[in-house]
Symmetry: D2
Subunit: 350 residues, 4 copies
């Protein structure tokens, strides 16, 4: 931390700051200039925060230098992490990380076994190695479809078993975490719950990998602090997912912050995916945004697909169907190697 | 709803839309023009939403006309509501609504019985008729002070009893709702939980009034939809609270959307308060923003106070202390009558 | 400026920074800590900017401490300024500043002499002491009404002379500045032109007071930097005007940043007005926002009025007509004294 | 346009709307429903705008259906346009459009002939076919470097001639348009001037292609309306350039709105480039954002390069130097063919 004194701060005020820092066990280095004095602080930043230095007489500003997250910071080590989903006695698991490009696909909402199985097969054919589907679905609209709940979980697990794809699904309540963890291989925290700290703690206490979507209002720093909550409970198998932020532009439901991909990869060792579906709101935008995500260096994609988008109970207008899925698979196959990525699920073109 | 057809839509496409609407039990009125055909829909809008009309061939756009909330809408009746907090066999309760200007005040975080009692007495002296304090505190920073929890609730209830002020406090977890409802007279939903639908349902199922803060990312329409979740469970004792939205301006931690006060009052019958503390981040802004809230027609204020802000464990820099609280009381006393408000807790100046 | 070195910066890298600063004539104060070294810089900040210190090896960050504006900063002196508009041999002029509450009113667009005269008389009756009207009107829509231009200026001047009100009008082109300055007593720079630096320089070179609206995208700091451009040319008669910023909220055309009023008054000595008309987009919002502006401490208001809003060529839906203007006058008369303001144009109520 | 009546609108009010539309020469189609009446309008939309229908008794809302721009709309024809820059008696010109991927590169600010020539040669070696450099430079900071002006133009023209690259440069003042048009092959309108309508009209009146950057606050619709201003003067050789919008995220100076590329291409026939430099603020972000732009389908890139970024007078931290430029050239060479683009300036790798 750096304390900037006002231009008219007195010596006594400067000494007050220094002694308060010393009492908290920190060191203070003073730079006296013609116009202002600057005091550099070394020691326990969290301790300093509680000193209320900013409130002291003669203090103009206090500037934080270190990051407010530690376990998920790239400062922990130069290597980016790979998170493996669905590894157990019988399965090797699916890697998400710097060496691969991983496709997660499936229906926005699980509606029936048929629809989910069909979606899972479409996903697999397109190169997806993880099946994502919604059983518990938070909805802004109080009068909308909220998902099948527990029976949706069972359908999803069955479709995953049938296709051999590990399963990813959203959990929205602390009381559902154990149930969802029983049926799913990865727990998704949705954008609206990114700062639901009770839920972050609860998934942090499981041994399942966590998919943490960015809140539409969240800065990158807040997103990494949310990941830190999960990590604090001992669970470092966290995958981040950019899905667009809220801005003034209304041509799209959210503005996909493509710059967040390389930015997060510089600040954190965690893998980062892109969800092009919810930011676009239109099927014809999903493909260009997916290509952009691959090219920007994302570690994978999360896309909504549906065998019959016109009849989908949720978000039909942006779900991919047959032709677009084949085009997406082709884009991954051709572009991922250009950014040095393996794509294990993608069959080479004939 | 209005369906706008593309300029090259065929008669068959127009007929398809009409028959899909008819099958769903709705009526369709067609306006054929030189360039475009427009189809007006009447009937159950929620049913129409699931028709995926926007996806049909020849459809350019679908425009919603009615609001997505009903119980909290002002269309329910021309009168604005008054919510009474803390009414029981022995107490008349404190009204929040169009005829009063109600001050809620107290410490951001309950730290000790002494600090809370002292804050409560300061609050009461300033004209507050409700004591607000934090026992469970969600925090963006994983390494910050998260509140005293259950013992904080007991301290708050004791301070409320000692001063005769009903108590308002935040609840952050579904599993805490019963406990908090036992100790508090009003349940606060914080900005980060405005779309925590499980929590909204849980407080909706209690018989306690709910204070619903606006999320920093939430449109006014989404805020009213969140209130609708609470109302759907049978609890219409909801008070809204504007506390600033996230914008590009970083001179303040959030941008207080003062226009939301009259806008919400036009769209909904629910009372609306202003919290000037969290939007400002600086004590010297709280007073002008409080005056602006009174003048704009807010039904009350929610302010942080602290007997010794310099030592506060949270948000000290924006808590009001003695002199500012007296100035706030004077502002309410002088300005509230100008907007036709009673202020029962405020002692007339000598 | 403060230079923060990376945690692994070498002594040689630290020395490089120091010698680069010395070569530029600055002083460097070094604080060596356990984890990081911090270098405080004293001297000519603009010179330092060109050193590209942030690019040097071992540098983690460079933090600016001083403000990027000087002439308009409140550091120039503790007193807030009063700008006098329309002072000449025969007129005392109208003050805008900390001791008064000044109402500027008139038609958004000058349409005819009759409409302008009638508006001017309505404005004066309501207590306005300055007549504002649009002759040159920038429009987002290419196919909209762009104002009467030069003949509008003459009409405005005539209406001003007839009512004794000095005249304020927008100038949009460098080539029009001399012409507008000839007819008007104060030159308005609209929100879209806040960073039209050529225009800022041109009005800065006149001797007329300038009304500088905040751009919808502009931070408070950028707004003050725009004012600095005007001041650099020797014209310090600048009045700022908050008119709402662009955010995600679409219930209003812009979000009135009421906090900017006290924030600007803390950072700058310049007066600051509020324009509640363009942020609201609805007549019924103008009054509550006007009251909020008075209460927040604004130095005045700028409102659109029209004798017959239903037939207005521009922005009719938010222009005030007879009854609302009388209500606004009453609000100013009753509230301005509560914030210690004189209102010379406002007739005491009978 | 569609007029939505309030639920309690009377027959007389409905008739009033209809007759006002008829008097303006339009047609009105009425859909009477159980709860509301909807009136579809056909005819001259601009005429309807001036009717102030929204102000009429019984009118709840007026919804615009058609786009407010015409000449630049894709409705004008299904083909996307190609703009050719620098075509004359001796040169074929450089195409920007759907079949090519065009690289514009050069120094942010022209500082000297040597620096500009060296930059131009670096640009050409990397595959750039257009030289972009700044002679007139608008600056938020009043005390920053504003460019060499006229002598900068001459240097740029000389460097263009020496390398055979047509020249693109920004014009900021109406009074400079003729001068800049004399020295440059394409006129750039910067983000701050996107709504400087006098300047748009002035470049629209030249016969030079125009590069129109998106304002940081501008919606896509406003950007296209700005282009319409240029087109109205008869100049349809317009190329759009996305450069990031202002949002709450401060990890980058602006949020690159990558979705705007396919969105603009759907709404307009004009080509659209991406400037990854100003949105990123860091050299290490320029490359991933450039790749994302190619993959998203942009028609080209605009990048800052500098032979010695550490000594650059402007924006050094994000200018590309030797190694990054070679990497960018490789990315274009490998990725552009995947999105069916020719890259005439790029030498095939050996």
């Amino acid at each position: 931390m750096v304390v900037i004194m006002t231009s008219d701060a007195t010596e006594a005020q400067i000494d007050d700051v220094i002694s308060r820092v010393h009492r908290a066990g920190g060191e203070a280095f003073v730079s006296r200039g013609l116009h202002r004095t600057i005091i550099g602080l070394l020691g326990d930043v969290d301790e300093f925060r509680s000193l209320n230095l900013r409130r002291m007489a003669g203090v103009a500003d206090v500037i934080r230098i270190s990051t407010p997250y530690k376990l998920v910071s790239r400062d922990q080590g130069p290597e980016r992490s790979t998170v493996v989903v669905g590894r157990d006695a019988t399965r090797a698991g699916v890697p998400i990380g710097p060496d691969h490009f991983t496709l997660l696909a499936g229906p926005c909402a699980v509606e029936s076994l048929d629809q989910t199985l069909e979606s899972a097969e479409m996903a697999k054919a397109a190169g997806a190695t993880l099946l994502r589907g919604g059983a518990f679905r938070p909805q802004t609209l109080p009068y909308a479809f909220h998902g099948l709940g527990k029976s949706g979980l069972r359908i999803l697990a069955e479709a995953g078993a049938a296709t051999g794809l590990p399963v990813v699904t959203e959990v929205t309540e602390v009381s559902d975490v154990a149930l969802v963890a029983e049926h799913a291989d990865m727990l998704q925290i949705g954008a609206r719950n990114m700062q639901n700290f009770g839920l972050l703690n609860a998934v942090g206490a499981t041994r399942k990998p966590v998919l943490l979507k960015r809140g539409i209002q969240a800065t990158i720093e807040e997103w990494l602090m949310a990941a830190e909550y999960v990590a604090q409970r001992g669970n470092l198998d966290i995958v981040l997912c950019e899905r667009g932020i809220r801005t003034f532009e209304s041509a799209t439901p959210a503005t996909l912050d493509i710059s967040s991909v390389p930015t997060v990869q510089r600040l954190s060792h965690l893998p980062v995916l892109v969800d092009p579906t919810h930011a676009s709101g239109r099927r014809d935008l999903v493909l260009p945004l997916s290509r952009a995500a691959i090219a920007a260096g994302a570690d994978g994609l999360l896309v909504d697909i549906h065998p019959d988008p016109e009849s989908a109970l949720c978000d039909g207008p942006q779900a991919l169907a047959g032709p677009e899925i084949r085009e997406l698979a082709a884009a991954i196959r051709r572009m991922a190697p250009l950014v040095d990525r393996q794509t294990p699920g993608v069959t080479p073109s004939p």
